[in-house]
Structure formats: structure tokens, C-alpha cells
Amino acid sequence: MSNFIAGYLPLFDLYCLHVGLALSQFIVLRAGVFSLATAAFAGIGAYTAGILAVDLGAHPVLGVLCGTLMGMLVAMVLSIPLARLRGVYQAIATVAFIQICLSLNIYSESITGGAMGLNNIPKTVGTGTLFVFAALATYMIWAIEKGRLGRAFNTIRQDEAVAASLGISIRKHQMLAFAISGALAGLFGSLEAYHSYAIDPRQFGFHLLITVLSYVIFGGRNSVIGPLAGAAFLIILPELARPLAENRMVIYGIMLILVINFMPKGVADTAIDAIKARRLTAKRGDSA
């Protein structure tokens, strides 16, 4: 029995880490920013924490804190120029940003370890910590959704002109969404660093971008359940059968195409909408 659980523990760790990153991607999309920079922010967080740990022997709490703040800071700075862009232009700019981080990282070998990455990071973060942070992050995004910010984000995403006409500052809210996204990615990036002994630049490139984006697209971009469900499904599915595991990326790819075409809101949000609609019909039946 305990063997069984131990076998699946790494998967659960991965889930907790990726839920954090998925929420980071989720929150920018929710505020109507087509940013794909989560992978870069995660890398920034991971390297900040990793360098502090390896070179300065810093306490993990300090490392995670700095990683989070660094992710947030960079995201806020990035949001200033990005406010001038929209749609695919934002997407391209953020992909360029990921590339800049990647190549700077490889170039600054003396600090970051270059292409070989950073090794010998003390493993201080375990399953419990990861779970607590994933739960906290989920709670925060849920709280945002329920309050003033969620309403403003929603409006901006759906119609910027309407949002502005109602006094919602697009620039301010999108910067805030970026800050949250950067902080979350920085946080889970630094947790990843303390969780896995070693990090390398390629971990935070295009591949991570696709993985995280898949979670959100698959699950849904409106309710916080979306990224949670998306990450769960896409992480567990390949484990169910060997052929699935070998073709993990093909499955992700096909899922992306199918879901965005046939269930563009994502699985969880579509289900939630269906439940709401059914409730309304029932209500109408009662009153009639």
C-alpha cells in the first residue's frame, strides 16, 4: 500500500508545481492579456532561489521569498511595454521575452551555470510544502474571482471599451494581473528549484509554455476549477497506459486542437455552464 502511494508521490508533486504555474497563466488570460511569459517568470524564480541557495547558502524561506518577488517585479516591469500591444502582438512579445531570458541565462555561465544548469541545490521542499502552496495559490485565485478584481478582469477581457467606459483602468488591472502571474510563477519556480536538486535553462522554455498553456486551455479559462482540472487530467492521462506516456506530447497537441475547436471554453467551464443552464431551466419550470 505504502509502495503504491510512494509510486505516485512524484506525480502529485508535479501536479502541485504545475497547478501553481497553470494559475499563473490563467490569471493573465483572465484579465485579457495574451501573455505566454509564465515559463520565463518561473525560470527567473527558480534561478533566483537556486543561485541564492548554491552560491550564498541562503535559507530556503529567503530563497523562495526572493524568487517570488523577483518574478513579480520582472512581470510588472514587463507589463509596462506590453500595455501598448494587443492580441498576437502580446503573444509574440512574450515569446521573445522567454527567448531573451533563455539565451541570457545560457550566456551568463559564471552566474547561472549556463547550458549545464545549476546543480546541488539542497532539496528542502517536499510534498507537504508543495501541497500547501498549491492550495494557497488556488485559494487566492478563487478569492480574486469572487471579488472586485475578478469582476474587473472579466470585463476587461470581454470588452475593453465597456470596461473603460465603466471607469475600470485597463492598464492598472492588467499590470496587477501580471504582478500576480509573475509572483505565482516565481513562487512555484523557486519551489521547483528546492524540490529537484538541479535546474537547467531548457526547463523554462517553449516546452513548459506549451504544457502550462495546455492545462488552462483544456480545463478552462473562466473558473479556477479550469486549471486544476486541466492539470490533473493532462498529468494523469499519460500515466494510465504506456503507449499514452510515450506519446505524451502528441496527446497534448491533439487535445489542444480538439478542445479549442470543439469545446473552446475548456472541459470544466463547459460543464459548469451546463450545470448553470440546467438550474435556470429548472427554476423556470418552477415559476411557470
Binding site: 502582438y89 509574440i92 470581454q158 506549451i210 506530447m249 502528441v250 491533439i254 486542437i257 475547436n261
Partner: protein, 296 residues
Amino acid sequence: MLAQQLLNGLVVSGVYALFSLGFTLVFGIQRILNLAHGAVFMTGAMVAYYTVDGGGPLWLAFILAIIVSGCLSVLVEITCFRRLRKTGDEEFGGVVSSIGAGLVITTIAQQISSTQILRFPFETFPVVIFRFWDLRVSMLQLFMAGAALVMVLILGYLFYKTAFGRRVRAVTDNERAATLMGINPNRIYMQTYFLAGALAGAAGVLVGLAFNSISFVMGEPYMMFGFAIIILGGLGSIPGALLASVIFGMVQTLTIAYLPSGLTDTIIFAALFLILLVRPHGLLGQEDAGNLGGRR
């Protein structure tokens, strides 16, 4: 030495032009950023390799690569974008969908090639070096430049001088109006995607020959460079993409030659970032509607 670099840069520019013309063509006609374009490019190189590997002559490899890449590109259009265009969610959805397609294509290529770097057999393309003044030009370079030039000219002819080109432009301006005029937009899209894919496939073969190194990830950097080029030229602008390819090819060759090697990519993408901010519509692109137009 500088002249030699410029010459090399010009050859590289030709390849970039082939790659980015299709990229920008598709954006111009559908406002869709086709992120599977890099995978199509890679497919061209793979098809050529396996044709040669199977004993086929290079000219056949080239033709097969072009046809297969073209068809693959059409397949991407049909599976990834056709439905999204109807629901009007092609800006966001198209990016997601084509990332998916790119992922499927590259992963399959990875499995076929067993994650290996593939190399053409020695002398698949005859190694002949011409010298004049102080410059060295290989036959391959001449071939690359020639092939790129011919294909760009063919595209230009098709686009600006034929009924097909007029139809493409009609559909670009206004799909509904074009449909009323009896044009079948889906057919135009398929033809455009075929052209775009064929050009990318050709670029893939040329790059594969030039570096004699073909792998399933080879499309990724070209995709990134493609971004830089079509943004610089203005998304959707054909002359812009040509001009930007030349600028980009030259600048890249010169930075590699004269600046610390690791920084080339940083400089290129930082430049892309800046161009986006200063001139989001590129050198020759047209301005989009304002931010508050409520497009989303």
C-alpha cells in the same frame, strides 16, 4: 572579410525569405499566426533526408519535400483553423490550435528520427567552391540563393499578376464580399496554405543541406526568427517580409561574426521586442484598429 560576411548574409536572407513569406502570407489573409509553420519547415528537411537516404536523387527529394510540406500545411489549415474562423475566435484559438499541430508534427518527427540528428551522405550536394576577388562562394550557396530568388519571383508573379493573386487579395480585403463575387474562400485558403507550406519546406531542405544537420527541433529557432522578420516587415506584408529577411539575415550574420557568440540570440530577440514597441506594425505594415476598438 566584411564583403564575405555580407555575401553569406545574403544567402541566409534567401532562406529566411522563403520561410517568412508563407508565415506572413497566412497572417495577411486570415489574421492567423500559424505556429505550426516551423514544424512544416522541419518536415520539408526530413522528407528530403529520407528520400535521399532511401536512394532517391536530390532533385526528387526537393520536389517531394515541397509537395509534402505544402500538403501538410493545407492539413493544418483544415484541422486547426477552419472551424475557428467560423466561430470568430481565430486570434487566440489559432495560436493554441497551431501550437497543438506543431507539437504533434514535431513529436512524430522525433519518433521517426529517434531523436537523432540526421545528416545527408557525403557529397549529396557536390562540394564545389568558386573563388573570385577575395570571396569564396560554394555551389550550394549559389543554388540556395538561386532557388530562393526563383521561388520568390514565382510567388510575386502569382500574387501580383494572376487571377489567383487577385482572388487572394479580394478574400483578404473582405471574405464576405469575395464570396458574393463567386470566390470560394476555403479554396483560396487551401491554395495559400499550400504555397506557404511549400516555401517553408523548400527552406527546410536548403537549411538541411547548408548545415547538413536535420533534427525534429530545427523548426523552433526559425519560428522565432520568423516572428522577428514578419514583425519587422509588418504582419501580413509580403514586400515587408522580403525586406526584413534581408535586413535580418545580414544583421544576424554580422552579429555572429563580430559579437560574442552567446549573445546573438539575446540581441536579436531584444531587437524584436523593441521593434514591437516602437513600430508594432513593422516597416511596411498597415496600422490596425485602435486599442479601444473593442476587438475582444
